[in-house]
């Protein structure tokens, strides 16, 4: 995975609460064989609304999404994270997330920043006219207006994201332990 250090640029001022994974990517997109291309289905129902942020050229290609409470609730589909990634989103900023979604986002190299609602309100306002920057190393969200909002992140996740380590790669680095286990298993349970 690509290391995540800073993410800066325009942000979709989406702001909605309780956005479930069916809104992020409707069920009809589940019968795919690739992670790529799911961006086309991202927020499909929202995009039918006139004036939605996803079709507004101001935000085209924005790497950040700002949302309300409980982002990514509902079905555990990993397609939600893939769809956001395919849309070009590298970070979401919201007051809270469903656990499964933030886990899936992390596994796919997407940063989920948690900040309280008043900060979200301020960022929504800035995002309409200006870019935003997220500095993962310093755990800080900044705006061109000298706003500085510190955020917390699990140290393990931070380490993985900063170094572009995906879980599979991390575990593969433990090859010696796995091989030792396999050798012992082959001796004690040769039928497996």
């Amino acid at each position: 995975m690509k290391p995540v250090t800073t993410i800066s640029g325009r942000a979709y001022p989406f702001g909605r609460k309780n956005v479930d994974t069916d809104v992020i990517i409707p069920a009809r997109w589940l019968k795919t064989i690739s992670r790529a291309g799911l961006g086309r289905g991202a927020f499909e129902t929202v995009r039918r609304e006139a004036g939605n942020v996803f079709d507004d050229p101001t935000y085209a290609g924005a790497p950040i999404l700002i949302a309300g409470d409980n982002f990514g609730c509902g079905s555990s589909r990993e397609h939600a994270a893939w769809a956001l990634g395919d849309l070009g989103i590298g970070a979401v900023i919201a007051p809270s997330y469903s656990d499964i979604f933030s886990g899936n986002a992390f596994k796919n190299g997407i940063l989920t920043v948690v900040l309280p609602q008043p900060v979200i309100d301020r960022l929504m306002e800035v995002a309409r006219t200006h870019p935003i920057e997220i500095d993962l190393e310093r755990q800080m969200v900044t705006t061109p207006f000298q706003d500085r909002f510190a955020f917390e992140i699990d140290p393990f996740r931070k380490h993985c994201l900063l170094n572009g380590l995906d879980e599979v790669g991390m575990t593969m680095a433990m090859d010696a332990s796995i091989s030792a286990f396999e050798a012992q298993r082959a001796a004690s349970q040769p039928w497996l």
């Binding site: 019968k31 795919t32 064989i33 690739s34 992670r35 555990s76 990993e78 893939w82 899936n104 596994k107 796919n108 995906d166 879980e167 599979v168 790669g169 575990t171 593969m172 433990m174 332990s177 796995i178 286990f181 396999e182 298993r185 349970q189 040769p190 039928w191 497996l192």
Partner: protein, 481 residues
């Protein structure tokens, strides 16, 4: 005594820890991995993008099941009949290409061994006691019936297992479900597990691995145990387990992928050490009396919405929890049922006998015994029997079971998940009602707007011949216990 008494779960867990992190997360070795067409394409894509091989293709078995149509697979000339739905066809083609590309054993859609992953694993002897087994499907819990620690995983985890043969997991709590006594006439394993879920609730097992114990389980066939363990996930549990015993060994002996010769003897000796030690403590225990269980049927859209067939649709107001009241009102609205209505007055238009819960030979025999010499009722629009695998199908045909069904007006299909979920052409139309031997009665599970009543194979057969939900005990001679 050197170590403290341990449960079956703890023994299997401890035997598979490769590494333990400070926060309690463990790297767990996975002995067996079943792969199907729906949850694997993106996992293989991930490997390909990163240039990674499958670590142990020899421990991996791929078989298509979820969106394979259950109509004939080959034409008269023996040529493959193409799949009409382009997305299903693409998923199948992806698995067919990925399996050989990564060196994985693949059971082809038209092979005699093809079937639902959870039927094929035990049947081939791929599933073994004491092993860890995963699959990108939540009903992987079924394999726990043989004493394997088996659970469903997501696509990222499928990729993780393919690449590393391990998973990062936290140890679960243990829950004992003890059932003692004899199930009454006309009451089977499906009725039992529905009654269990009805009492402990769809979230009752959250955070736990269930071990089923007691005399009812001990005297139950392996097929019956598979039905029970299969539905552990519907009680919210991560997995279900049943201690391996002589019945387990007799079931596995001689299966194509089971150990042989000296390996077999060594394996059985090890498997005999697995059952929970006397004095081991479970985090929670629930006790059931088999004799008190009657044929079960669901009325709502959660597998916990269970009543005995002699019962009535409950009044939503009768639930203590306001959120359950609200859920029940919504369920009744979706299901088109009234509070107080007798379950036996509910007419059905569809019958589905199949799914990884109830598509093995004993299930088909139980249903055929009810259907034998009878015909499906006039109001039934479609009655499907979908054997769980090609081997089940062939055995049923040798026993003449297929004829019993066909003469009664059932359709006799090719193996697959079929109407268990609306991913292939077998669907229940919106607003229509199905007596189904599958495991989920969720909104839209059998197709958008479909109304599902979960029942046992014998009860599905009884509904087929009367055209309404029916107490199979009355139909079969009025015996009630």
């Amino acid at each position: 005594m050197t170590s403290k008494a341990r449960t079956l779960y703890e023994k299997i867990w401890n035997a598979h820890v490769v590494d333990r992190r400070d926060d309690g997360t463990c790297l767990i070795y996975i002995d067996r991995h079943l792969v199907h067409e729906v949850t694997s394409p993106q996992a293989f894509e991930g490997l390909r993008v990163a240039g990674r091989p499958v670590r142990r293709p020899d421990l991996t078995l791929a078989v298509p099941d979820h969106n394979l149509p259950t109509t004939a697979r080959l034409d008269a000339a023996g040529k493959r009949i193409p799949i009409a739905d382009p997305e299903s066809a693409a998923q199948l083609a992806a698995l067919e290409a990925n399996a050989p590309a990564f060196g994985i054993r693949y059971i082809d859609a038209s092979a005699p061994e093809q079937g639902i992953v959870h039927v094929v694993g035990p049947e081939q002897g791929f599933t073994l006691p004491g092993c860890t087994l995963v699959c990108g499907d939540s009903h992987t819990a079924a394999h726990g019936a043989l004493g394997a620690l088996a659970f469903g995983i997501g696509t990222s985890e499928v990729e993780h297992v393919l690449a590393t043969q391990t998973l990062l997991l936290k140890q679960a709590k243990t829950m004992e479900i003890r059932v003692d006594g004899t199930l009454g006439f006309g009451v089977g394993p499906k009725d039992m597990i529905l009654a269990v879920i009805g009492r402990i609730g769809a979230a009752g097992g959250n955070g736990h691995v269930i071990e089923y114990t007691g005399s009812t389980i001990r005297s139950m066939s392996i097929e019956g145990r598979l039905t029970v363990s299969n539905m552990s996930i519907e009680a919210g549990a991560r997995a279900g387990l049943i201690a391996p015993d002589d019945a387990t060994f007799a079931y596995l002996k001689g299966r194509p992928m089971a150990p042989r010769g000296a390996d077999w003897d060594a394996a059985v000796a090890y498997w005999r050490t697995l059952p929970t030690d006397a004095g081991a403590v479970y985090d929670r225990t629930e006790i059931f009396d088999a004799a008190a269980i009657s044929p079960s049927v669901t009325w709502g859209t959660s597998p916990e919405d269970v009543v005995g067939i002699a019962g009535v649709v409950p009044d939503p107001e009768s639930f203590a929890d306001p959120s359950k009241q609200e859920a029940a009102r919504k369920s009744l609205d979706y299901m088109g049922l009234q509070a107080g209505q007798r379950m036996q007055d509910v007419a059905v238009e569809h019958i589905f006998i199949g799914s990884c819960t109830n598509s093995r030979i004993e299930d088909l025999r139980a249903a055929a015994a009810v259907v034998n010499g009878r015909r499906i009722a006039g109001g039934i629009k479609q009655a499907l029997v979908v054997p769980g695998s090609g081997l089940v199908k062939r055995q049923a045909e040798q026993e003449g079971i297929d004829r019993i069904f066909k003469e009664a007006g059932f359709e006799w299909r090719e193996p697959g998940c079929s109407a268990c979920l609306g991913m292939n052409p077998d669907k229940v139309p919106a607003g229509e009602r199905c007596a189904s031997t599958s495991n989920r009665n969720f909104v839209g599970r059998q197709g958008p707007g479909a109304r599902t009543h979960l029942v046992s194979p014998a009860m599905a057969a009884a509904a087929a011949v009367t055209g309404r939900l029916t107490d199979v005990r009355d139909l079969m001679g009025g015996r009630t216990a």
